[in-house]
Symmetry: C3
Subunit: 439 residues, 3 copies
């Protein structure tokens, strides 16, 4: 078994395998609740057998929210005046407004228009629309199609249940040596869209699989929840535990396209999660885009709210709201690629590895140790080449118990890989000790 913090990430699955898993999940009609979520979690469980699935009854009060009724849809379509099915849920589940109430009626075109959603300036895509908390029904279609509709009577059918049931979510705790936790949270409430949001659960699944396969110091918690309401429920159940144990957390969303990496800080931008994310992105994806917390839009809204205040940031590819395909049928499995998924998984694995290997260093002996007697120092004096040993003595000089190797690299200008190698030697020789970081 490999150490998460020290081995290469060659054990990571390929982007193709992730893309193939995404294709399996893509057609399922997920929403805040319902069988689509259950079906998706079941497929994830095949890869992560330890994933626990929870059901929370509709009507459950939780912080400021109430778990909604459960929504399940079987068929939905519009027939034009000639009886032709021009819009059909069976062809794309974005065609129905999420949480639409059942309907089976005939309307004039004018009446129907009140229930149609399209994007005039993007006439070829179907928009994603929901009406979670207000009872309503509707259809989404391309604007191109909508413009062809002629007056007449249209039959609309939505065969759906919206009734008390339960909300489903999953979580997985991968225990480590320490009870300190690293949290990954992603959401599973979106129907057939690929970047926002299948890429998050997909990358989270394979990240969890990889973490399970390596030795680790920290405990890792993966949370697959419906956005907002699911996160609020999860926090309401576990807030005390999470506040005691979570050292860093990340919201995983928009993980699969090939756009530049995006960083969404926590509210303060000063947590350990922010530090790790900035470190790894700066080194491996130096062209990453750094957003303000004011531009947030996902579950960091819950994790970073004042009374919750967990150390949670978000690392994404193209950020929600920013890329044109967002929340439309164009956010599909062409937009999300094996390459994009693969790179994002690698960055998340690198963040895990960085956290795993992150240790504070403290010098053991007073003054400088005698490097020469250990063969760690050019032992002929006089015109000593200070450069050759300066990394060692600088490492020892700044190992005052508050710095990790990245800090020491920044303080001294020495390459961190060099410092890591030297630190291992010095630890072997009993000249350095390390402690794990706690906030």
């Amino acid at each position: 078994m490999n150490m998460a913090g020290t081995v290469s990430r060659d054990g990571l699955v390929s982007g193709e395998e992730m893309h193939s898993f995404a294709r399996l999940l893509f057609p399922i009609c997920r929403s805040l609740t319902g069988d689509g979520v259950r079906q998706s979690l079941k497929l994830i469980q095949e890869l992560l057998p330890e994933l626990t699935v929870h059901e929370v009854p509709s009507g459950t009060q939780t912080f400021d929210w109430t778990v909604p009724d459960e929504w399940n849809i079987r068929t939905a379509y519009i027939e034009d005046p000639s009886g032709k099915r021009i819009v059909d849920f069976a062809t794309h589940n974005l065609h129905v407004v999420g949480y639409s109430t059942p309907v089976d009626t005939t309307l004039t075109l004018d009446e129907l228009q009140h229930h149609l959603h399209s994007l005039p300036d993007r006439p070829d895509v179907i928009p994603y629309v929901t009406s979670y908390y207000k009872r309503d029904w509707g259809f989404c279609l391309t604007h191109a199609l909508r413009k062809t509709l002629t007056p007449g009577n249209y039959r609309v059918v939505i065969d759906a249940d919206l009734a008390p049931g339960s909300m489903t979510y999953g979580d997985l705790v991968i225990p480590g040596t320490s009870t300190d936790e690293v949290l990954f949270s992603t959401y599973i409430c979106h129907p057939s869209m690929a970047n926002n949001e299948l890429s998050g659960p997909v990358v989270a699944t394979f990240l969890a699989q990889w973490i399970s396969s390596v030795d680790r110091h920290y405990t890792y918690r993966f949370v697959f929840v419906p956005e907002t309401i699911g996160t609020v429920v999860y926090l309401s159940k576990l807030l005390d535990h999470l506040k005691r144990h979570v050292r860093a957390g990340f919201v995983m969303t928009c993980c699969g396209d090939e756009g530049p990496f995006s960083f969404m800080p926590s509210r303060t931008g000063l947590t350990y999660a922010d530090k790790i994310a900035r470190r790894v992105l700066s080194r491996h994806k130096p062209d990453f885009v750094s957003y303000s917390f004011l531009q947030r839009g996902s579950d960091e809204r819950q994790y970073c709210s004042p009374l919750v205040d967990l150390p949670v940031a978000s690392v994404m590819r193209s950020k929600y709201h920013v890329y044109p395909e967002y929340h439309t049928s164009a956010d599909d499995l062409n937009f999300v690629t094996a390459k994009g998924l693969n790179e994002t998984l690698a960055i998340y694995a690198e963040m895990v590895a960085t956290i795993e290997r992150n240790e504070l260093y403290t010098a053991v002996v007073h003054g400088e140790p005698q490097l020469g007697k250990r063969g760690l120092y050019p032992n002929t004096g006089g015109q000593v080449d200070q450069g050759a040993v300066s990394a060692t003595v600088d490492l020892l000089a700044f190992a005052d118990g508050t710095n990790d190797l990245e800090d020491i690299a920044q303080l001294t200008g020495h390459d961190q890989t060099t410092l890591e190698r030297l630190a291992r030697v010095l630890v072997q020789h009993g000249l350095l000790t390390t402690t794990r970081l706690r906030d």
Copy 2:
């Protein structure tokens, strides 16, 4: 009754009314002590009946100072060799050096010159000169007149008493809901000059009158004292109380001309008074001049001394020492205008309003509240217009108990007026609570 913090300042008196009150006070010969101060405080009492007048006997020891003898002057003049009264206290009370000892004698011009004060480079104005702590006498006159004096015998008469008596000052406490206090301090020891210093007591009087007329949270303390010695006496009597209760204080001086506003910080520049003054001036008078504490020259010298160290700043128009009319007969009721007085009163009232409405905000629920169920949120999902609700969610996100609305406006970039409106709604809905600021 209006709330100080929430209503427009339309209830403020007009500049004309203040200017008219200034004209009433102007001719009175005030000094550190004497009937001029008593007469002035009596006129103020007609507007502020609750003002208490205190007498402190000459010789009273107080911190490092001793209350001086009381000075009262009846007549004073110089007769030229022909017997003509060329300088007469009756025409302008600046003609006599403040605290002049009595004299009735005849002198040669050479002898007389030692007792004359004029300004060669401002030949048409009478300078303001005092000799509080060294017994002396003298006359002030325009340099133009002085140059016309010809050799001969001059009769000089100063009919004055300088003898044990008392020093007079006034104060007024306008109680609020809280025992926390806001202090306004001005001085009443200057003879016939208008900006420095009648404008301070005049604006203070009408500010107090306005505050008395509105609902208020804080307690307001107005202090009308002779500069320096009066302030030292006041501090020596009330220091413990003031240190416990005063949250912000302001020295009111030079309040009546039409020059740009001036800001004199406290010693540290970091007190709540500094914050409020900078806020109000930045918003309403963005061209205000910010001075260094090194350029101080009024009672902040006492209030901000190391062992006193109260949170006291000063908001002025043209600052003492800076404008050419300062401490001369040119600082008159043409230099001070109704418009100038009016604007300054409005700024002080705005500072009061800002303090009154200043509250720290704390979110009530964990995570984001469900705005939709309260009609506070566009309740159709999908292509939500985040801009429309971002002010609300940002307000909630930064309501962590350390920020007031101005802070949140700065942190989020949202307009403060918008935030105030939203905060009221959120407080009504029980989603936000507020606490009053304490240092």
Copy 3:
């Protein structure tokens, strides 16, 4: 007896006297141990009779180090194939690698080359080479000479002892009123080189002599030790005491050439020693070179190591490693000059004086004191010249118990000499009190 903090440094010895003392010490062959160190300390004792000489047996364990065997050398030479002594320890003690083991043999030129050290790009100087911790022997010579060597048999003789004995160091404590200490540390392990290192012990000797001759508040500790191992031994013996008492310390090295002054900060750069050194250099040698702690190379490596962490900086002329004469025979008594030594002594004396006179000021009375009644203030009011008294009132205003006069000078812009004069007057009048600085 003069006060160290208040008198001019006219009592300092001349540079010529220091240079003459350096000439006396120069020829002695010092090393980490041995009679050269003892002889040098004996000569220093003639000037500093209170200097205590300590012996630490070879083999003593101390922190991470072991005191090495003692090395004493009598003669050493190389004879060329013709029997001519071409390299002779008697002509320059740099000719022998420090800590060379005894040898008496005949070698071919090829074999000999493995034991020769020269500098190809500085062909006219003898390099300084040691082999303290690995048993070896060797000769150093000019590259010019080395190039003339022809094949043949060379006799090499090193008549030296390397055997258990002891390491020698000296220290001197000059008691003051306070048990708070200022530390000066210099090293005495270098053979015939002048700037690095005779200048350190020489300037330290005369600095100690001067301090002994003046009144002083602080206790001064002078340490003359072999570099690194001597410092480690000294720290191991006295660390607790030093950590309790040392307020500031300085490593004295490279003190005698005429290059610009150099400043080596402590690890944090924030100690009192750093502050004093920066202050004095900024004022008196504004063109000083400020190095990074990363460029350190002397005993600050021990004093500033994480577990020792004493407030120790270093003030030098041309820094070790930087000047081309460093660690060669060119670092001689032409490179070190009377002028250079003199200037460095003056700067160290100025640092002592600065520490001695450094006090925190606190105002005694509440509010501003009445300067007029004490004759400290122009006592005619009106057109008062604020400039004339602003230094006094500013000094009082910022005398809040956290500022010394340099701080107040910086805060107020007033000249520090003026403030010192005013502070003395105010202290006399009971208006200011002073306390000594503690970290």
